[in-house]
Amino acid sequence: MLEIENVTKVYPGRKGMFGSSAPVTALSDVSLSIRPGESFGLVGESGSGKTTLTRCILRLEEPTSGRIRFDGQDFATLSPAALRAMRARIQIVFQDPFASLNPRMSVHDIVTEPMVIHAAALGLGPRQRTERAAELLDLVGLGPQHLHRYPHEFSGGQRQRICVARALACKPDMVLLDEPTSALDVSVQAQVLNLLGDLQTRLGLTYLFISHDLGVIRYVCDRTALIYRGKIVEQGDTQAVFDAPQSDYARTLIAAMPEVAFD
C-alpha cells in the first residue's frame, strides 16, 4: 500500500546573527512497507523523526532523497492535480483535538470541508455532503444533533471522534494516526482505540499509527517499527518486537515501559 524507500530528510543549517548551526538529519535512510488493511505502528521518542516522516508521506515536506510510493505511484512524479486527487486517499488525525479543530467552524463545516476540497473526486452536492456528514458522525458514535454545534461544546474524546469523521470524509484508503490518543484520559483513550479498530474492520482501512506509548502500539498494531534519531532500528511483527527485541534500543525502551504488573 505504502512503500517508503531509503528516505532521507536533511534540514539545512541556519546562518544567523550568533553564528551558524549544523544541518540536521531528521530521517536517515528510512525504509518501510505498509500492507493494505494492516495497522502499522511507528514508535519513537520526541525528536526521533516520527512527525517528519508523516509530513514527508503527506508531501507537506519534500524528502531530500528516497522515494515514497502510495499504491504504486510516486508522489514526486505526479502533477499537482493528480497529487491533490491522491491526497484524498491518505488522511490524517492529529494528536491534539483542541488545536486541530477550528473553533469558529461548526462540526458540519469541519466534516464537509474535505468533501468540498475534493469535490472533483467525490462529486457530492451540498445536500449530499450534509447527508454524508450526518452518516460520518453516526459512524464515529456521535449523532446528527451534533452537526450544528461548535468544537468547544465537546469533550476531548468527542473532538477526537470529530477529527476521525473529518479524516474519513473523502473515503480514504489509509489514515495516518499521529498520537491520536495521547491527549486523552485512559478511559476515553480506550473508547477511541476501540472505535478505530472497529472502523478499520468495517471500512478496510490501512493505518499508520504513530505513538510514543508502547502499550497502545502493542494493543493496536499488527507490525511495528522503532525509530531512533531518524533511523529505523527495529521492525517486525508487533508480538516479535515486544517478546524478543533485537536491538539494544528496543530492549531499553521495552524495559522502561511503565506497566501495571508486579512480579
Binding site: 521518542e45 520526541s46 483513550q189 479498530g197 510514543h212 522502561a256 511503565p258 506497566e259
Partner: protein
C-alpha cells in the same frame, strides 16, 4: 502521628457558572518513606489536593469549606500566611510537570539553586551548616551530582536552555530537595518526558526517598508509573478518594468499580484486540454534583442507597468508598 494528614477536606472553587465543589471530603495520611501515588483522570481534583498540601490554592477563587490539612501535627489551613511560606522549600518541597517553565531562563542554574539554598538556610540554618554563599555553592554542586548530572561543577554556569528536558527535571528535583524537605509534592513529574527518561527520573526519586527520609505525594494519571514507583496509591474520582491503600493491594485486587474500570481501560500484554473497555458516560458537573456517590451515574452496580449518601472510605489499610465493595467478588 502521620507526617501529612488530610482530614475530610472540602474545597469549592468559584467559576463563571457557579461554585464548583471540587474536593469532597479528602482523607489521606502520608508517613515518612511512603510514596503515595494520587491517580485519576483530568479534573478529578488530584492537582488541587497536591497544591492544598502546601496551601498554594489561591483563595479566592478557592474556598475551604471544612476539614484540615495537618502537617507534622499542625493544621496548615489555620496557619498565618508567613508561617506557611516558611514551610515551603524547607519542609515541603514541590516539583511540577513542566521543567521548562519552572526554571528562569535568564539565570544560570547555579544561581537559581544557590538562591533557593540561601533562602532555605535563612529559616533552617542546618541546611548549610551555618555557612554562607560558598557553602550554598558547594551544596548546589553536591545536589546536582546526586541527581545524576555529569560534570556538576561545570554545569552550574549553564543556562536552563542548555539542558535537555530530563536534565532540567533533575535540576528541579535538586532544587526541591536542596532545603531537605520532609514532604515532597510532585505534580506529574514525568509526564512531559520520554519513557526511557521517565524511568530514570522515577528511579532517582525513589532512591531519594530513603536517603532524605521524606514522604512523597506523587500526582499522576498513569497507573503504570504508580505501579513502578509508589508504595501506596489513592484513586480519585470527581473530588473524592474512592480507593486507597498499599499499591499491590489496590492494583492487584481493586475493589471500587471505578478503579476496576480504570484498570480495564489500560492495554496490557494480555489484552486481546477489542478487549479494552472504555467507561461510558462522562465526569459529572461539579457545580451541581449528583447526590450520593459521584460515580453512581456511570456505575453498573448503583442502587438507590448509592444515590442517597456519599459512601465513606472504610477499611483498615486498603480502604474503599463503595457500599458494594464487600458484596462483589474480589
Amino acid at each position: 502521628m502521620a507526617l501529612l494528614e488530610i482530614r475530610n477536606l472540602h474545597l469549592a472553587m468559584r467559576s463563571f457558572d457557579g461554585e464548583a465543589h471540587v474536593l469532597n471530603g479528602i482523607e489521606l495520611a502520608v508517613e515518612r518513606r511512603q510514596v503515595w501515588g494520587l491517580v485519576g483522570e483530568t479534573g478529578c481534583g488530584k492537582s488541587l489536593t497536591g497544591l492544598s498540601c502546601s496551601r498554594l490554592v489561591p483563595t479566592p477563587p478557592g474556598r475551604y469549606l471544612q476539614g484540615e490539612i495537618r502537617f507534622d501535627g499542625q493544621d496548615l489551613l489555620a496557619m498565618p500566611d508567613a508561617q506557611v511560606a516558611a514551610l515551603r522549600g524547607t519542609r515541603i518541597g514541590m516539583i511540577f510537570q513542566d521543567p521548562t517553565t519552572n526554571l528562569n531562563p535568564a539565570f544560570r542554574i547555579g544561581t537559581q539553586l544557590v538562591d533557593v539554598a540561601l533562602a532555605a538556610a535563612r529559616r533552617k540554618p542546618e541546611v548549610l551548616g551555618g555557612g554562607g554563599r560558598q557553602a550554598a555553592e558547594r551544596l548546589a554542586v553536591q545536589m546536582l551530582d546526586k541527581v545524576g548530572i555529569p560534570n556538576a561543577a561545570e554545569r552550574m554556569g549553564d543556562y536552563p536552555h542548555q539542558f535537555s528536558g530530563g536534565m532540567r527535571q533533575r535540576v528541579l528535583i535538586a532544587m526541591a530537595l536542596i532545603g531537605r524537605p520532609d514532604l515532597l509534592i510532585a505534580d506529574e513529574p514525568t509526564t512531559a518526558l520520554d519513557v526511557s527518561v521517565q524511568a530514570q527520573i522515577l528511579r532517582l526519586m525513589r532512591s531519594m526517598v530513603d536517603e532524605f527520609d521524606m514522604g512523597v505525594v506523587m500526582i499522576t494519571h498513569n497507573l503504570g508509573v504508580v505501579a513502578q514507583s509508589c508504595t501506596h496509591v489513592a484513586v480519585m474520582y470527581a473530588g473524592n478518594i474512592v480507593e486507597s491503600g498499599p499499591v499491590r493491594d489496590v492494583l492487584m485486587a481493586p475493589r471500587h468499580p471505578y478503579t476496576r474500570a480504570l484498570m480495564q481501560a489500560i492495554p496490557t500484554r494480555d489484552t486481546p484486540r477489542g478487549g479494552l473497555q472504555g467507561l461510558a458516560g462522562s465526569v459529572p458537573n461539579l457545580i451541581t454534583p449528583p447526590p450520593g456517590c459521584r460515580f453512581a451515574p456511570r456505575c453498573a452496580l448503583a442502587t438507590d442507597t448509592c444515590r442517597a449518601a456519599t459512601p465513606p472510605l472504610t477499611g483498615a489499610s486498603h480502604r474503599v468508598a463503595c457500599i458494594h465493595a464487600e458484596t462483589v467478588d474480589a
